[in-house]
Symmetry: D2
Subunit: 262 residues, 4 copies
Amino acid sequence: MTEETWSQPIAKVEPNKVAVRGYRIDELMGRVPFAHVVHLVLRGDLPTEAQGRVMDAILVSSVDHGATPPSALAARTVASGGAPLTTGIAAGIMTINEHHGGAIEGCMRVLLHAVARKREKGQDALSAARELMAEYRAQKKRVPGYGHRVHSDDPRTNKLFAICEEEGVAGEYIEMGQALREAMKETLGRDLPMNVDGAIAAVLCELDFPPDMGNGLFAISRAVGLTAHVFDEITAQRPMRRISPTAQEYSGPAERSLEAGG
Amino acid sequence: MTEETWSQPIAKVEPNKVAVRGYRIDELMGRVPFAHVVHLVLRGDLPTEAQGRVMDAILVSSVDHGATPPSALAARTVASGGAPLTTGIAAGIMTINEHHGGAIEGCMRVLLHAVARKREKGQDALSAARELMAEYRAQKKRVPGYGHRVHSDDPRTNKLFAICEEEGVAGEYIEMGQALREAMKETLGRDLPMNVDGAIAAVLCELDFPPDMGNGLFAISRAVGLTAHVFDEITAQRPMRRISPTAQEYSGPAERSLEAGG
Amino acid sequence: MTEETWSQPIAKVEPNKVAVRGYRIDELMGRVPFAHVVHLVLRGDLPTEAQGRVMDAILVSSVDHGATPPSALAARTVASGGAPLTTGIAAGIMTINEHHGGAIEGCMRVLLHAVARKREKGQDALSAARELMAEYRAQKKRVPGYGHRVHSDDPRTNKLFAICEEEGVAGEYIEMGQALREAMKETLGRDLPMNVDGAIAAVLCELDFPPDMGNGLFAISRAVGLTAHVFDEITAQRPMRRISPTAQEYSGPAERSLEAGG
Amino acid sequence: MTEETWSQPIAKVEPNKVAVRGYRIDELMGRVPFAHVVHLVLRGDLPTEAQGRVMDAILVSSVDHGATPPSALAARTVASGGAPLTTGIAAGIMTINEHHGGAIEGCMRVLLHAVARKREKGQDALSAARELMAEYRAQKKRVPGYGHRVHSDDPRTNKLFAICEEEGVAGEYIEMGQALREAMKETLGRDLPMNVDGAIAAVLCELDFPPDMGNGLFAISRAVGLTAHVFDEITAQRPMRRISPTAQEYSGPAERSLEAGG
């Protein structure tokens, strides 16, 4: 049977040369920060300085959230059976889906839809948001990316939006994210601020990322925390232990600040 | 049954506050580059500027290697059955093991052992390397991290070592890496340069990372390329296609340079 | 934080006693065949003898399909990187989804819908099938479970339906499966027999399985073949080899028959 | 690049014909029980009736163990994030490793080693077991497959050995398993009966299975329970809930017996 030749636009490998999206990796190393290379590999082009700083903040924002998220628990549980480091990390990553981190993709779809409608109808953001909320309510659907089981006002959301403002990256999608919060408050009588997934969703829309890729950003960022959790499970915990999702506490360094001399 | 309370030193989560290794994430965002935060989360402390630049280069070095590595093929194959993005990425990550990327962990163990012996016996690097190679030869064991199925002289290795020299991070482990290459040449009659896994291994030893964590760095970096591959498979390829590991070609932008105006 | 007590109806474990769905496992062992126990665990009750024989045939039907299905290729590829046996098997299982094996779930939904409509409208099977095909055509949707990339007339389908006839298990769903084939032939001008996924779908509907569980049956059955493939990859193949999905051949025993003396 | 043709001995697929290890699947369906087909696919040949009954009992023995094993918890946790059924099952399967189920492989290696030594030295089983225990004690190693965190006398072990006696399958490996228990009692002053993993290990040695395949049998059997757990998680539990490994209870049917009229 003859094989069909297929193609991919990501990397070209020749003897002694590896290039991603056209740039030699050894030229990128030491000159272009990792967060900018993430943008290059995923979007096909290097970001502007402003976009690169926003990408960096997105990647830092989701790096870890302690031992309670299902991804950390799944990764630790798999490792506790004796699996190698990378199998444990993988178990954590496959946990990131619609209900966990995956709000990014869902929220991006809502924001893209809402902004497209706003443009089409020549509405302002709040009017479009109100219409959309009314429809969601009628269909008993929730808008993903709002509210959090721990945080009433997510500090990562506020910081991410502040950086976007500073860098001139904030636009219609972040505006629509806020408009939806307003419309939701009117409709539901509850103020649910955007959580970090919602905030990342809005910013990825500003950066023109496709929604199908949204959960990937979260996965890349959280792979860091998952590596630390699986390493801790393998090296510092008892195999086959019962891993409680609630009876656990933090044992790392006390709160410290970058100001303090770091 | 009462539950045992357990502890982890990675992140502390309180309402409206998330801190990793003691630093609030919203303080890190926009100020500390992602590669430095990777060092913080994995090692427990922020890197120096020199260490941070080296970490960044490590993460860039392994970001992708086209469609032939088993991790990219596994990720694409799982996605072609219909799995969601994160399940595909996870399949790629669990492929990173002893024979793929996993040379990092194995090579770190050899380098740590060789340098410990050198110190203990008061030898120079080349003498220690020769002794170790003689033992490996007698036991018919290979030293992981040398040679590559595509590259005879890996450009990523050379660049990584150059950055370590510039930043004053190069020390006994990189020296030992080179000494082992010399000793291998004498013993085997073949010159096998360090591949990028071996180079990362040597540099992670310089940064005092534990070997059990070695493959994690590769997994974090490669998660980026895997995300791009799975996205491409889901959005641009036919479901259930036969994915040839050889009959494939690059279809992205032609080679370009940072100098050219990027 | 107090923990919510949750419950599951599958197995009860007490010191020196393990019972599934109420039956002690040591009472089942040696008396109730594994295929019947699969029915017990998944559906909550032991099957009749007729249902049990059908369950057994379903499990045998999908046990393996050589080295070309994506699940076998993903499992082998993950193993070739150095992962342990169970990680390789897992990679194969997560490949079973909408486009591979997963037709079972999709086809079950179509059959349940078509039979419900037939009953509601008091139609015969072929009329209901024609209406449904017209709708699918208008929406450019395919009915899953028909046609196969290798088999024009799947011998496993024919045998499964024959066993259902013998055992008196064949009913409205198998009838509707055939009616849809007829309607498809009229609409598309092509005769696409049910593939084994479609056949299993129809039979699982007869056995009153919920569609959400459909792919699970395939996963349980195929776990057997995947174990053999991963074992072969680990023990008989070269690590990190390029695993062609086409340039491969069968090297096992020549065709033999149960009649010949088994 | 030309592709190397590779071969596998498991299944041959031709248009309208699928054969495993030489037997057409449609000939096996309805005539050869699934447990016998498992033996065929994994070992290359159909079992005798006696071996087939033992295989069936092994597969039934490990079908589920409630919600506390790490495999069930990992599978449920991954599913609670929103992953599809098969991704959840896969997460459970990759949890089966050295410390969970994986005692099978480790215990098989010990038994094979002990029986080989017994034969070589012309010893009786207890003498060989005592020597081996003395060595393990000196090296501070544990023999896997003895003792259980819940059961002091595992009913599945007793039943499996009873069936092997009935079927004439019990031989040197089961004898050695018991001798090791005796030797352990003398050395440690504690009586640790074989757990179900140890029992399966001894029986798989009697059936001439290679140890590298041991965990695969457990994975195939437990895939059934995992499917039921993931289905329950997806259809009956709240997404992103905290899944306690201890605050859980059984909600299925009360204990019932095959005698009662099943």
